[in-house]
Symmetry: C2
Subunit: 302 residues, 2 copies
């Protein structure tokens, strides 16, 4: 099954205690697409400026991402400047230049309207709703962020009523529901529409709430984390990529999908921009999946 | 196998957004003992003041904790006053009155010197060393806190050289090693002596580093957390209680032990003081262990 993703393509300037990336390829749709491309055919809808070169396109093209929905508008590509301290869970935004992304009105190519899996990456929830009007997917997943929870909570709740899977980080889940307890917060969000709530917890892993079952996976303990940018989108790419590849989304599939997402995110943070995913291989993915099994395995009580 | 614990017995006044406990039984050795008592015979060395009544002793006595090492000194029992906000991971100390605990010089009863498992709960590392001089255990585990890492790092490192298992929270591990990465920090600590490093991460679970293997367990997602006080000590009680019951500490045993510790901690936080452990039953423990298996289980990739 193919996946359609709508989100941002950006040029990021990121510094962490371990290095810096200047004007490197970033954006939610970029990270999602490259990650998902290891599992499924990806179709990307986004906008870039006239300064977006073939060199910028290369990683997406090489991973087979279909760019027929990537429009080029007059102006500059979205730029984000961010900095992380030793607590790599916290991104500090230094500068945001929306450029052409400020006027982004996503248009899904007619031939893509029946793409079975849709990922609405983190953009204005009103635009996410617009996209939903244009398509007939079998499975819809959405991400969001604190900015939209603050500024457009009603649009976000309307969107959630039409979404199957919502992926958010733990702070966003608490903020949206005004409920500090994650179990109760997830129950509240599920009462608004999504049958599945995926709570991303950075280095602490992920929680998946679906029907009566909860699944928890710790983060992979890495010796080297260079840049956490894109980890959440790489997770989403692996998660939905796996579900698209299976053509199913049972709670059992969702567990494997959450592990696959965590595998992809664990590679994503090992280098800046797309550097690690760019040279990632299928055997490496399978091997880290197995290492997740070793990491978390324990026997019943005697 | 029996376990000897040396630590504090206190009267706590704790408030959380969900309630308050006034002058309730607390202290590291108390929480550890009651938790471990579900698995092994526990011998407690601590000091209390003349204000420590039979009513205070009751939960310890009822759980079969041997109090022959609990000395009564002239003065008042150690008191701690603490407050938690909605982020239950952070305890704010409002007041500490050391009382008789300020002059605590642990003396291990002669008959207890060959107790096979020793837990040195969080006290002055120089006192922890004193205890080690008095005993001949097969397995030694120790806890500590930021205060001792700051004030007595050399004594603490001397102690660690003689310890098999160290249990600390993630912030303490980073503080002690000045290394933000937990994998590398654990390797550093293991190079100082302990063969096993157990990193407690509150609601995010636990990491166990031993030989070449790492084990990660997420926290149990609870709908109701009333008071996190004592969670770390209840974890240690379950962890060492299980190892004592098995009479073994292989990496495989340590994995089960970490789950048992997490089970005990998950019950501990469901009520104030010892209220939940006081009415806990063996079938409830087994059932939650099984729920941990359901929570974390996933299949290999197809």
């Amino acid at each position: 099954m193919s996946i359609l993703v709508v989100g941002s393509v950006a040029l990021d300037t990121v510094s962490t205690p371990f290095g810096e990336g200047r004007e490197v390829l970033g954006g939610s749709a970029t990270h999602f697409s490259v990650s998902a491309s290891f599992w499924a055919k990806v179709r990307l809808v986004a906008v870039v400026g006239e300064d977006f070169t073939d060199a910028h396109r290369r990683p997406l093209v090489e991973h087979g991402v279909d760019l027929a929905g990537l429009s080029v508008a007059e102006g500059r590509t979205f730029r984000w400047v961010g900095k992380y301290g030793y607590d790599l869970n916290v991104a500090n935004t230094i500068d945001t230049q929306l450029g052409v992304f400020g006027d982004f009105k996503p248009v899904v190519p007619a031939a893509w309207r029946d793409t079975p899996v849709l990922f609405l990456a983190n953009i204005d929830p009103e635009l996410q709703e617009d996209v939903l009007e244009q398509v007939r997917p079998k499975l819809v997943a959405a991400d969001t962020m604190n900015y939209w929870i603050d500024s457009k909570p009603e649009a976000l709740k309307r969107l959630l009523a039409r979404v199957d899977v919502v992926l958010m980080n733990d702070a966003e889940v608490r903020q949206l529901t005004k409920e500090p307890n994650l179990v109760r917060a997830a129950t509240t969000i599920r009462s608004w529409g999504p049958s599945m709530v995926v709570v991303k917890r950075g280095e602490h892993g992920v929680l998946v709430f679906a029907e009566d079952s909860a699944f928890a996976l710790p983060g992979f303990p890495l010796e080297q984390v260079l840049d956490p940018t894109g980890a959440g989108d790489a997770f989403a790419g692996g998660f939905l990529g796996y579900l698209a590849a299976q053509g199913a989304a049972s709670p059992l599939d969702a567990r494997r999908a959450a592990v696959v997402g965590s595998v992809m995110a664990s590679f994503q943070v090992e280098a800046f921009s797309l550097d690690r995913l760019d040279r990632l291989t299928a055997p490496e993915i399978r091997e880290r999946y197995e290492r997740f099994r070793e990491l978390t395995a324990f026997e019943p009580l005697p």
